[in-house]
């Protein structure tokens, strides 16, 4: 009799234990750090918490090293030193800086200058988003715009040297560095066997793996007019990057300016686009191409992206019309 009661109580205990423990096994580690003048949030999943924490620390090292060499605003960075001395002179660079510049130049060429890393003089003079923001003089704009200076940056792969053949060139990697850093982080995480993660590099998202065996990650696209998210993209192993005129702004003499410059005019781009979102395998590509589509406008921008394999785009114009490339369908994009 006692045995039966004990058995029943044991069975009840097991049932309670199962109910209260729920599913276990998958661990999650998340951390937010301040780099690139923005917040980076890394959320990693796996079965070994210590391994995830170690990976986050290594990620910090990756992003710190990229920021310290590629920041145009930091006077002590390797890029700043290069900009000061590379006119008509071969300057040897670190492997890291050389690779970021090469990546940026590749997309400058691919987009025929719609994305342009050689606008450093213009971006620093405008200084949008900082307390020093100002409208450059007409003379300044005339001197530094409409130049297509990407061909004035001479790279030598063998010696990793960089030379400018025009004194109007100053490299600004702000449009590619975050995407590049997110991609390097993704590569590192995969190399150490972390196959499920969400990396949020200041709004540049990399979705590694999938949310679960039967569901994709769901990444929102911010409403460019403010408020809630406007749409959501379902994806796995993709970077989702948005360039928008709402991102960083400055009011100068009562006029509000955004920070994405059009190299042909020297002024913030006026293409009728409020935001351009790129979905691609490569985060660096998505970063550069989102800027290019924003500058080009919906029609030319979507035409550019249609010609690229594995890259899709969603564009919201100033009438809040949503246009996208042919690879985007209702299974991928949900308007909220």
């Amino acid at each position: 009799m006692k045995k039966r009661i004990v058995s029943m109580l044991l069975a009840l205990s097991v049932a309670i234990a199962v109910c209260t423990c729920g599913c276990e096994g998958e661990k999650r580690v998340s951390e937010t750090i301040y780099v690139f003048d923005t917040f980076l949030t890394l959320t990693l999943y796996g079965d070994d918490t210590e391994k995830l924490k170690t990976a986050i620390q290594e990620t910090k090292n990756i992003t710190d090293s990229i920021q310290s060499c590629a920041s145009a605003r930091d006077e002590s960075s390797e890029l700043s030193a290069l900009n000061k001395s590379a006119y008509e002179k071969d300057i040897q660079t670190s492997k890291l800086l050389y690779d970021i510049i090469k990546t940026g130049l590749y997309y400058s060429e691919l987009t025929n200058g719609a994305f342009d890393i050689t606008l450093g003089y213009l971006t620093s003079e405008w200084a949008i988003g900082t307390e020093n923001a100002r409208v450059p003089s007409e003379e300044f704009i005339e001197r530094y715009s409409g130049r297509n200076d990407r061909s004035a940056v001479i790279l030598n792969d063998e010696n990793r040297t960089v030379r400018f053949t025009s004194d109007t060139v100053s490299i600004d990697l702000g449009g590619v560095a975050k995407g590049y850093a997110a991609e390097k982080t993704q590569q590192y995480l995969l190399s150490v066997g972390i196959t499920k993660a969400i990396l949020d590099f200041g709004g540049n998202i990399v979705a590694i793996g999938s949310k679960s065996a039967d569901s994709s990650w769901k990444i929102g696209i911010k409403n460019p007019l403010g408020g809630n998210t406007f749409a959501a993209v379902s994806c796995e192993n993709k970077a989702v990057v948005t360039s928008g005129s709402y991102e960083r702004r400055s009011v100068i003499d009562g006029v509000s300016y955004h920070h994405i410059l059009d190299g042909t005019t020297g002024y913030p781009a006026q293409s009728g686009v409020l935001s351009a979102t790129i979905i691609a395998d490569s985060s660096a590509a998505a970063d550069c191409l989102s800027t290019a589509v924003f500058v080009l406008g919906a029609e030319k921008g979507l035409e550019l992206i249609e010609g690229l394999d594995g890259v899709e785009a969603v564009v919201i114009d100033d009438a809040m019309n949503v246009r996208s490339t042919s690879g985007i369908n209702g299974d991928i994009l949900e308007i909220l």
Partner: protein, 124 residues
């Protein structure tokens, strides 16, 4: 099995069910509805569906002024450590539906409840 044994078993099982129900109600009353949203300087860093949390974890949120450590458990969230001078955020305890958002003024950090979006990130 004797009649008495059946009665005792029924009473034990009944009591266990009642205790479980009471514990569940107590736990539910301390839990929050919707997503916990963590903002730093007005920018949304995290949107966490607290019901979906399977394992407790901690978030270290660094800002230019210092850092806050946030503890996330199934159904609830709080700041457990911070290097701000007043520690108001830490002393706020767990965020529940009945109290104000957790705010750390020195670090411009805010944790508040918002209707769930089901999103894993926001591209912006």
């Amino acid at each position: 099995m004797s009649k008495r044994a059946v009665v005792i078993s029924a009473v034990i099982i009944g009591a266990a069910v009642v205790i479980l129900a009471v514990i569940s109600v107590l736990l539910m009353s301390a839990r929050v509805d919707g997503d916990a949203c963590i903002y730093s300087d007005g920018k949304l860093l995290y949107r966490i569906n607290l019901d979906a949390v399977t394992e407790p974890y901690e978030l270290v949120i660094e800002c230019e002024g210092g850092s806050n450590t946030v503890r996330v458990e199934q159904g609830r969230i709080c700041v457990i450590d911070a290097d701000c001078p007043d520690k108001t955020c830490v002393n706020s305890g767990w965020l529940s539906r009945d109290i104000m958002p957790i705010i750390c003024l020195p670090h411009r950090l805010e944790i508040r409840l918002e209707q769930g979006s089901g999103l894993d990130g926001v591209s912006q």
